[in-house]
Amino acid sequence: MKDRTKYLAYPYVLWIIVFIALPAFLVLLYSITSKESNGLTTIHFTLENFKKFFQPMYLNILWDSIYLAAISTVICLILGYPAALIISNTHVSNRNTLLFLCILPMWMNMLLRTYAWMTILGNNGILNNIFAFLGLPRFNMLYTRGATVMGMVYNFIPFMILPIYTALSKMDKSLLEAADDLGADKKTVFKKVILPLSMPGVISGIIMVFMPAVSTFIIPQLLGGNKNMMIGNLVEKLFILNGDWNFGSAISIVMMLIILLSMSIMNKFDIDKEGGARLW
């Protein structure tokens, strides 16, 4: 596929990149221009939008978003790693069934999945009904920060399980035998071989959970109520209610920089540079 094809290939790649990257470029453009800009003729460049963001109110929202996303990511890791480990140790015939069950809910409308949790957590929801049935007091679970975290964990945990599972299932089983042979009991084998070798999967998982979690707006809106606004909600509000596209774009650019930064830090811990267990 060299020679002749090459000359056709580059314009094509250029075009597809423009198609994919153009909206991103527009967002960037919006973020550094003022509201007064209009059309192609009158563009006012400004850093006002970014300055505006560095106010305590907005920084608090940013901090809160990162905090909730980080907590959700940690919980996903704590719950997802053992799940991935167990699935990878299951006999092949059952393994696919377990994986299938893990990703099953992903095929359902995200809205719907989240609504389902509302009926579980609500004041008159299933859990409270069970508590009542057991003689326990009902208490409010919906519209709390906890509900938001739970919703995020629920929605994003498959993205943690899958890359870790991939990393684990690709691991050469003879390495475990070698460690066993060299005197390592099961705990030590896990600590010294399984865990370090699955790190690329863990890092993939962390990125793939943290990224959508930090910018989600549906989950905090539905499960968290209006009490805790996350950055995604702020962006939505600015766009739809205020029509302030420039400020909204600036916030998104900041978020993207934060994500890029955390990814590049993560990548430093990634031993398997050749893309071992990365889903992408």
Binding site: E177, L182, G183, L197
Partner: protein, 346 residues
């Protein structure tokens, strides 16, 4: 069997209902170099894995130094394994790979460092401690794998075709290195291979296996010179295997002629396998040999010529420093000690 360090009694193992090992009895003495030799699928690796603790036998018992170890997991067994594809830890450097077992024993840093450096020196890898595993050649990886096992000072070292992935030249070098090391360290080696030359070169005792059964056990010289059946004869070296009939003690008939031989104790008229090594057949002028045949092919092999000589329908493989051109008729001579008589395989 007083000083047996490893003893297998009546070991049977099935995978998915198929018998892989069928009533294996094996005893390995201290400081012995034992080789399990056989074609792929003969059960040699399974035997090794049972000794290592990676497989549990369905029936039979395994003793280590007199203690029953059937249910002891690998990490508690005082033996170490060199795996077929090395199984080096890709996330650790050379030093940490070798130090792995020592760190688990929680030795102090100085002891570990001393022992690992000694190993690196022993294997001519002195400045390689900080290298990543994937920066090493196959031969170097192979030596690290052995060093990683030996540094734990096991009583027994198990080796599963450790030289299989190396090329010819390196393989020969490593054979000598391994044998020398085994003698020097005084450790028992149990070695699995399908390469009969490797087995002959290194072993004190060779265990020839086929289809889950031990075919013969003995010193290289025993196995080579007195194979117990045609399978062993053929596997341990190239052989001509003919159908013969015992006429009497010390007299066998094949290819329509009678030959004196050194074997007795067979029934008169019993059908036997007659095994003749290619290097034992000598070329003579026509008429002088008891057999004669037409040369079908000649191949120069360096030390000798390899010829296919068609004698009344049986094509003899002959190794000789003499050469006769293709198409000529030659005589073949045999002395009685060149003829090996064996019971027919079932």
């Amino acid at each position: 069997m007083d000083n047996a360090i490893i003893q297998l009694n009546n070991i049977t193992k099935k995978f998915d209902g198929e018998i892989v090992l069928d009533d294996i009895n094996l005893s390995v003495k201290e400081n012995e170099f034992v080789t399990l030799l056989g074609p792929s699928g003969c059960g040699k690796t399974t035997t090794l894995r049972i000794i290592g603790g990676f497989e549990t036998p369905d029936e039979g018992v395994v003793y280590f130094d007199g203690h029953l170890i059937n249910s002891i997991p690998p990490f508690k067994r005082q033996l170490n394994t060199v795996f077929q594809k090395y199984a080096l830890f890709p996330h650790l450097n050379v030093f940490e790979n070798i130090a792995f077992g020592l760190r688990i024993k929680k030795m102090d840093e100085n002891t570990i460092s001393g022992k690992v450096e000694k190993m690196l020196e022993l294997f001519n890898l002195k400045n390689y401690g900080k290298r990543r595993i994937d920066q090493l050649s196959g031969g170097q990886q192979q030596r690290i794998a052995i060093a990683r096992a030996l540094v734990n000072e096991p009583k027994v070292l198990l080796l599963d075709e450790p030289l299989g992935a190396l090329d010819l030249k390196l393989r020969k070098e490593m054979q000598h290195e391994l044998k020398a090391m085994q003698k020097q360290l005084g450790i028992t080696f149990i070695y699995v291979t399908h390469d009969q030359e490797e087995a002959l070169t290194m072993s004190d005792t060779i265990v020839v296996m086929n289809e889950g059964i031990i075919q013969q056990m003995g010193t290289p010289i025993d196995i080579y010179n007195e194979p117990e059946n045609a399978f062993v004869a053929d596997f341990i070296g190239e052989s001509n295997i003919l159908d013969g009939v015992m006429i009497d003690d010390y007299l066998v008939e094949f290819l329509g002629k009678r030959f004196e031989c050194l074997d007795s104790g067979y029934g008169r008229g019993e059908e036997v396998d007659v095994v003749i090594r290619p290097e034992d057949l000598d070329l003579t002028p026509v008429g002088e040999g008891k057999l004669e045949g037409i040369v079908r092919s000649v191949t120069f092999k360096g030390v000798h010529y390899e010829m296919n000589i068609d004698a009344k329908g049986f094509e003899f493989l002959v190794h000789s420093t003499d050469m006769a051109p293709v198409g000529t008729t030659v005589g073949l001579t045999l002395t009685p000690d060149d003829i090996h008589i064996m019971f027919k395989g079932v």
